[in-house]
C-alpha cells in the first residue's frame, strides 16, 4: 500500500538511484535514442525532490501530483510527459482507492495512452506491465525486474526515436524500461509492496 511515508521515501530513493546511474542510462539512450535519458531524469527527479521539500505534501495523491508536475515541467524529453502522465493518473487513482495494483495500473494506462503504445514495443511499458502482474500475484522480486529489462533487448522498437532504427534497435536495452526498473526497486525498498 502507498502511504505518504513510503511514497516520499520512494521518491528520494528513485532520485538517488537516477543520480548513481545517470551515465549508464544516457549510454543506453545513446545506442538507440538521443542520449539524454539519464540527464533528463536527473533534472526531473531533482525538481521533484525540491518540490517535495518546498510543498511538504501530506497525502499520497498530493505527493504523486507534485512529482507529476515537476516531471512534466523539467524533464524535456519523452520521459517527462510519460512519467508525468503516469504520476498524474496515480494521483487521481489514489484519491479513490488504496489498492496498489489498481493505482499502478492506472499509471500504466496513462503511459499507454500518452505514448499510444502497448506491450512488446520496447518501451517502459515492458517493465511496468509484467511488474504489475507479478505484484498482483504477490511475488515481484528485484531479479524479475532485471529480467524484464533484459527482455527489451530482443525487441524491435516500435515507438519513439528508437523506432527509426527499425531492426537495428534489436540487441539494445530500452532506457525507459531501465529507469522504470529503478522506480519499482525504489517502491520495493521503501516498503510499498509489503503486506
Amino acid at each position: 500500500m502507498f502511504t505518504t511515508e513510503n511514497l516520499t521515501k520512494s521518491f528520494y530513493l528513485f532520485h538517488e538511484k537516477i543520480e548513481q546511474q545517470k551515465n549508464q542510462l544516457s549510454e543506453l539512450d545513446q545506442a538507440i535514442g538521443d542520449g539524454d535519458h539519464g540527464n533528463n531524469m536527473s533534472r526531473g527527479m531533482t525538481a521533484v525532490i525540491q518540490g517535495i521539500e518546498e510543498k511538504q505534501p501530506e497525502t499520497v495523491p498530493e505527493l504523486f501530483k507534485v512529482a507529476a508536475m515537476n516531471l512534466i515541467s523539467k524533464v524535456g524529453g519523452a520521459s517527462g510527459p510519460l512519467y508525468g502522465t503516469a504520476m498524474l493518473q496515480m494521483s487521481k487513482a489514489s484519491q479513490t482507492t488504496e489498492d496498489t495494483c489498481q493505482i499502478l495500473t492506472e499509471g500504466l494506462a496513462g503511459i499507454k495512452n500518452r505514448g499510444k503504445s502497448s506491450e512488446d514495443e520496447k518501451t517502459m511499458i515492458d517493465l511496468w506491465f509484467p511488474a504489475i502482474e507479478k505484484i498482483r500475484q504477490g511475488e515481484l522480486t528485484k531479479k524479475d525486474l532485471v529480467a524484464f529489462v533484459e527482455r527489451t533487448k530482443d525487441m524491435e522498437a516500435k515507438k519513439g526515436r528508437a523506432s527509426y532504427l527499425g531492426e537495428r534497435s534489436i540487441g539494445h536495452i530500452d532506457p525507459g524500461a531501465a529507469s522504470s526498473q529503478l522506480l519499482f526497486e525504489s517502491f520495493m525498498e521503501a516498503g510499498v509492496f509489503d503486506e
Binding site: D34, G77, G80, P81, R114, G160
Partner: protein, 122 residues
C-alpha cells in the same frame, strides 16, 4: 484574425527558422514558437508550449511539431488550454508553410485540413 499557428521543435533555431520561412507567405497570421529548452538545450518544454499557446492572439490554433516527444508535450498543453488546438502529424516545414499560406488568404478550414492531410507522415 482568430486563427494562429504554433511551431514546436526540439531545437530553438529550427522553430525560429520555420517561423521566418512562414512569414514570407503570411505576414498577418499570428505565429508562436516553443522550441528548445530554456537553457538552450535540446528538447521541448510543456511550460513553454502552454505559455506560447495562451499568449498567441488566436482562439483556434494549428500546431505543428518535429518529433514524438514534442507531440506528447503539445497534447498535454492542449488538454490544459481552453483554446481549440489542432495537432497535425505532418511534415513540419511543408505543412506549417502550407497552413500559414492558407490562413493568410482566409481559406476555409476544410480546405486547409484537406491540403494538410496530404502531408501526413507520422
Amino acid at each position: 484574425m482568430s486563427k494562429g499557428i504554433i511551431i514546436v521543435s526540439h531545437i530553438h533555431e529550427v522553430g525560429i527558422g520555420v517561423k521566418r520561412l512562414m512569414e514570407e507567405a503570411a505576414k498577418d497570421v499570428p505565429i508562436a514558437v516553443a522550441a528548445g529548452l530554456e537553457d538552450g538545450e535540446v528538447g521541448t518544454s510543456f511550460d513553454a508550449i502552454l505559455e506560447a499557446i495562451e499568449a498567441l492572439p488566436a482562439e483556434t490554433i494549428y500546431a505543428f511539431y518535429d518529433l514524438g516527444s514534442a507531440k506528447m508535450n503539445l497534447e498535454m498543453a492542449s488538454e490544459m488550454s481552453e483554446k481549440t488546438i489542432h495537432i497535425f502529424d505532418t511534415a513540419l516545414v511543408e505543412s506549417a508553410y502550407t497552413a500559414a499560406t492558407l490562413l493568410q488568404i482566409d481559406a476555409e478550414e476544410s480546405v486547409i485540413f484537406e491540403q494538410l492531410a496530404a502531408l501526413k507522415i507520422k
